[in-house]
Symmetry: C2
């Protein structure tokens, strides 16, 4: 099989690794081991699975220097950002430990036998159970938090599903090192091989989702990647759920009052948000609406100054760099003009210049509202809020929509913007920026197509639902039931005869 290469995007140099693309026989063994690990992962129960996630978090932390150093060489994202991202990945594993200990995610419900308007009804009990082995496709832009050690892995393991990761070719060594750190934690908890494994190569990724033992797939990536994976899934006799977190332009609406009250502050925030991590975030604001008034002029002028004096950004790989250059050209053909772009003294490796573009608000075609990965934002100026309303209504759905309002802005205008974003995005951000997605219970990171292809989040506690299916027991003898569905159990919230009952944890 082909050797896997690693590339340093800071200089563009390719190096051979010890890794090989995963061939079919090896893939079959890996999936067989994952299937074999399903029972162990389920049987250890919620508390031991929580302990496993904590152990994984600790293991990742203990390999911090190696992991961050490797990711630095493979992604060019910089030490500070990667160190923070690894902490985020660790926090995610710990959060799912909390989710497991809480137990509400099981959606446990008991309907005792009863006389009903439809006659004598049997005892029915329901809770969610793991779907089985899951395929996860690592993202280019988050070597930790959306890759091998990412939220998809953490939520799938929490659910009780073994995970086979398809490593992103932009960071194979980081992927392998992450998998090794996780595997070490699994061994320390007495787990079998196969709880987590990594495959390399595009063909292996597609073979993975075609494998009958794989029961769900998750991707953070492009619409094109999602289509390829979906096409492979469609070859299966039995379909499986596929969760894609895909493409998003993340519009920002700055209302006149906000611009008048804090033009400079908003310019600072926007600049940081669209250039951070080289603009390679799924929540990067790609399109900002700014009033065509003096305060809006000040805001755009401040943005121009910041962009014009900015340094270059190292993009993750050659393909992303080329796509960025193409996107800029596409935008110019679509009527946007470059408003600010620094002249870089050097552009080693996959370094590009950040860019601010401007476009007439009446020219917002699909070419302009398509996601552009990289440090680029388009500004559209509006004269009347009616023009803003019309423009917002014409945008494709996004993960997020942000509105900046000042004290002088009409609440009816804010309401209209919120309503549009409520219908066409998954998260409405007020007076802030969409990047920096909080990892928490209430988070939703998802939105209507093309931002995602599902009704689920890929960040936050509720993302665990993607890897669970309901199972019901009718008139079951108590000894056959999972402990969470037995009558006396009170350690998790349950719905009993239609009434939600809180947990009453055992004294300990």
């Amino acid at each position: 099989m082909n050797t896997v290469l690693t590339v340093d995007p800071r200089d563009g140099r390719h190096r051979e690794t010890q890794l090989r693309e995963t061939g079919d026989p090896e893939l079959a063994s890996i999936v067989a081991r994952a299937s074999g690990a399903t029972e162990w992962l389920s049987d250890i129960g919620r508390r031991d699975r929580a302990a496993l996630l904590d152990e994984i978090a600790a293991s990742l932390d203990s390999h911090r220097t190696e992991l961050v150093g490797t990711a630095e060489r493979e992604t060019g994202l910089g030490h500070e950002r990667l160190d923070f991202e690894l902490t985020r990945a660790i926090v995610q594993f710990r959060m799912f430990g909390d989710v497991l200990r809480d137990g509400g995610y099981l959606e446990a419900a008991i309907d005792h036998a009863a006389a009903t308007p439809l006659g004598a009804a049997p005892d029915v009990r329901r809770m969610l159970v793991p779907v089985g082995p899951v395929a996860v496709f690592g993202a280019s832009n988050f070597p930790f938090a959306f890759s091998v050690a990412g939220g998809d892995t953490a939520s799938a393991l929490a659910a009780g599903c073994p995970v086979v990761l398809k490593a992103h070719p932009s960071h194979p060594l980081t992927s392998q090192a992450s998998a090794d750190a996780i595997a070490a934690a699994v061994r320390r908890r007495g787990g079998p091989e196969g709880v987590v494994a990594v495959v390399h190569g595009q063909a292996a990724g597609l073979a993975l989702v075609r494998h009958p033992a794989v029961r769900a797939a998750a991707l953070t990536g492009s619409v094109a990647a999602a289509r390829a994976i979906q096409a492979a899934i469609d070859e299966r006799p039995a379909p499986i759920p596929f969760y894609g977190e895909l493409s998003s332009v993340n519009p920002i609406a700055v209302l006149p009052g906000a611009a008048a009250e804090r033009a400079g502050q908003i310019a600072d925030g926007l600049f940081a948000s669209f250039t951070g991590s080289g603009g390679q975030l799924c929540t990067k604001p790609g399109l900002a609406f700014v009033p065509a008034d003096p305060a809006g002029d000040d805001l755009v002028e401040a943005l121009r100054a910041r962009v014009g004096s900015a340094g270059g950004a190292v993009l993750l790989n050659e393909r992303i760099r080329d796509a960025y250059v193409d996107a800029e050209a596409r935008l110019e053909r679509a009527g946007a003009r470059v408003s600010a772009r620094p002249d870089l003294a050097s552009a080693a490796g996959f370094t590009v210049a950040p860019a601010l573009l401007e476009i007439d608000i009446t020219r917002l075609s699909a070419e302009v509202t398509d996601e552009c990965f990289g440090p680029l934002m388009v500004v559209a100026r509006y004269d009347a809020v009616a023009d803003l309303d019309a423009a917002l209504a014409s945008l494709p759905p996004s993960l997020t929509g942000s509105v900046h309002a000042g004290t002088s802005d009409d609440r009816a205008v804010v309401r209209r913007v919120v309503d549009v974003f409520g219908a066409s995005t998954g998260r409405i951000v007020f007076d802030g920026y969409p990047t920096g997605v909080r990892v928490s219970w209430a988070q939703h990171h998802g939105g209507p197509w093309p931002s995602t292809n599902s009704l689920h989040t890929s960040v936050g506690a509720t993302s665990i639902r993607r890897f669970l299916r309901p199972l019901a027991w009718q008139d079951a003898p108590e000894w056959t039931l999972p402990e969470e569905l037995r009558d006396g159990y009170r350690e998790i919230p349950r719905r009993v005869d239609g009434r939600l009952e809180g947990a009453r944890p055992a004294d300990r």
Copy 2:
């Protein structure tokens, strides 16, 4: 457009109706009205939506004589069954009223702004919101409970989604009368046209799911119908979720102890379960495993006696009747032999004879384990429980799996059967029969492919999740939030800063 025909399956006679197949311009108007109704249905809020569902339940009840009479002529299912089914449909609307008043279905969560290991985090609040207009395909076999007035409609309306029904051609007049009864209730509650509408004709059904304004689809029907609908959905630029409740053989494992203790009782139960409603239930037991011992002989003998003296069953339509005849022939070709089948004096309309078949347990091919709609059950005898284990493990997934155990049966054997059914079905039934699905909070009616294509139920309170998507608000001013997400609100269960808080209903 083509006239819609109605057929009385008791005599096979076709009659013209006043209804026409729905053409494209009319479909466009219907979907436009549904889209227009979305805002009203969402804006009235949970309490008024609950009142609407109660009003619909009352309206259906007030049209009982007409509805049941029409359905009798169109389905041949008999007055008692249809009267019961209408009550079930009414109960479903009332249950979703309770679901709305409870409010837990919103999965409301609030994470207040906080200092976290990842720095200062914003306030994030999340709850589920309606996806938009939904297409529902009525089932042949439940003119009320899985059709226009069915659970998909009730759960979608509860979620806040207008519904466009594709009427099943087996009961167009019942469908229309149901829609009229629902529309009258909507009008009484001040609702607009378009909250519920019906379309007729296969082409209209496919055009419906291709329509960009339709945001989800649900079907209770065959795998072939699901494939046709999925193919139409795949033509859309933006995919939508599609929930199909499809095909299921619903195995029954009778363990030796159960047969020894209650052979006659089990024979009675099985006979009632596989012949009730002409065997046209998605949970009909199609395959029973019976021990090859004297108690098993008694059980099969008792079944034979009941089947041999049974009357004919009127099937729903010509296609189903033909498929039943074909399936019997297919089973015989696959090695099954007819064990009992009454000689019918007459077989008017689409009447068929119920049939009991037997097959060697080593000959369970896909031809045998495919769902066969109609009053037919296959019995496979086993010598050793190891043979039973192997046979159960070879079956395709089902909605349900039932196990009958006696006091003398080994718990290890029961555990193995339960584990197999836990992996391959959605509901494990103990010492009972899968038909007669309880409508309740804990119910799960779904299972791995081919029994369904999703991780959701189509019966019970949690089926509402199919038509909801999460939405998050970040740092939102209180006045922009739905009331359920405001700080002081306590009428529903919510997860606040990770802790589940029960509802504390206002004094009233």
